[in-house]
Symmetry: C2
Subunit: 298 residues, 2 copies
């Protein structure tokens, strides 16, 4: 990372440029004012008010969430595994310190506990201050928060008899603190931490337009550990290329990840702006070239 | 439009900013070199070689096509109406001077004639020089090119007994020469120019993330003329928000636009990188909030 945080703001525009991650292209967002900038123990954190997307959280120079479009990501990464699971009761969220995924998890009446493991408390505190629409469930009765490294937490879980029905990896991109979340050992730990019918989903940090070979390798790594590993995506205009891939895996090879096996209740559906069971299935449908490269090439 | 063409290149990066069309957000593409810049009679035209997306065609400051991702747009705007039609023989393309849509149309063995009506010959000539992978079908035996205003051409067709099976409106955005293509009279002309089972598709110039109310009005305008008018989309990383909406309409209310009613032949499918019949249907599936705003709100 060459420049980070407020150095990326020039002439009133924030520029997201990352010559390693997505060379030759960038996103610009007009800045109304910078709300916060610092380097925490773990990463560079910038929060600004944009003119078009509300407040924006930026970690190490990369947009993590904006108030206007965050629901597209939070809803899809949460509800795809939860509605593909028959009866999800215990949910684990790795990362996700902005609270958006937790907000979605607790909409499920059947969930009895939601545990969030976030390494960087600063992210939680800033989200509570600047992204209150996301960070609204930290005090929910079903929620526990652990300020800990996700990898270390999972190692302890794997060594114990604690198991989860759904695990959601809502990490930042694979540079900085989240790097370890994109390797095979991580999928092995996730496998160990799941119940027999468990499902895990991880943001792929890439999309079909950006780094298809990386996605293929990620699906392959996951598929070496899980009997079922698939790619799906959500559309988010402030993520590079306008979409973000998700890798979803099932411990039971009979699990049908591509379809909701439960319908949202009327109350649940009324709280969702992006997710519905039709888009659940549609999010697995890929353009021909991407499908072949991910699933058919060697 | 405040600044156009090469003025949008600074420090080696092209910036697509349009405070009227999509305020507060912008796309950046790294420029290797400018290949062409001029003002034609109709618009400002810029062609540059980018570091990540090949050659890029920009009209009035807005990216129209890049070599790397153009197929996503050309294939979807062409093959959705053509595979939703039982037997498309005569196809009309309004705009599309880059030749990309024509390239896709002539892949259909059943098509006997493909007429392209482009107001700006400069676009055709530049595409032949700088986007040869797109402008490869102008000399195809089935193709006729008319250098004429699309609106005027359609008026003449409506007054004659010439009719088309599929019309594809591949115009630029509704500023500058293409403005008239986004109004109700235009849909009426299209209706007149179609055979009874005819289908028309138009790029909406917007997407659900950008201007949902505009899309709702466009679907409503089209729906006042056609018994069936629907929204679908394709993903294109170099278009604002990473996707572009398409409005597709049928003259026969029994037409099922959401599904291919013919399978591509093996030969046809082998020539397609984006389109397949599954993504044809998936492209009509919308996030909950967008679906309600387009189809259910008043």
């Amino acid at each position: 990372m060459d420049t980070v945080g407020s150095e990326l703001i020039e002439d009133g525009w924030f520029r997201e440029i990352n010559e390693k991650g997505f060379p030759g292209q960038g996103l610009m967002l007009k800045v109304e004012r910078v709300l916060y900038h610092s380097r925490s123990e773990f990463q560079d954190i910038l929060v600004f008010q944009s003119s078009a997307y509300g407040n924006v959280l930026v970690l190490d120079g990369i947009v993590q969430a904006t108030e206007r479009d965050e629901f597209a990501y939070q809803e899809m990464i949460t509800h795809i595994p939860l509605y593909a699971h028959k009866n999800p009761r215990k949910v684990l969220v790795i990362g996700g310190g902005d609270g958006g995924v937790l907000r979605e998890v607790v909409k499920h009446k059947g969930v009895v506990s939601a545990t969030l493991v976030e390494i960087d408390e600063t992210v939680i505190k800033l989200a509570q201050k600047y992204l209150p629409g996301m960070a609204c469930s930290f005090n929910h009765a079903k929620v526990q928060v652990k300020l800990q490294d996700g990898f270390e937490f999972l190692r302890n879980v794997a060594a114990s008899d604690e198991r989860y029905d759904v695990i959601i990896t809502d990490s930042s991109d694979p540079e900085g603190p989240a790097e370890a979340f994109f390797q095979k050992e991580y999928f092995e730990l996730l496998h160990s931490a799941l119940n027999d019918n468990g499902i895990v989903i991880a943001q792929a940090s890439e999309n079909v337009w950006l780094n298809l070979d990386y996605i293929r390798e990620l699906v392959k790594s996951a598929g070496a550990v899980f009997p079922r590993a698939q790619y799906c995506y959500t559309t988010v205009p402030t993520y590079t290329s306008g979409q973000l891939g998700l890798i979803v895996c099932a411990k039971n090879k009979k699990s049908d990840l591509e379809h909701a096996i439960r319908e949202p209740t009327i109350e649940e559906q009324s709280q969702m702006r992006y997710y519905n069971t039709a888009i659940h299935s549609a999010s697995f449908i890929l353009p021909t070239w991407a499908y072949h490269r991910i699933y058919k090439s060697t």
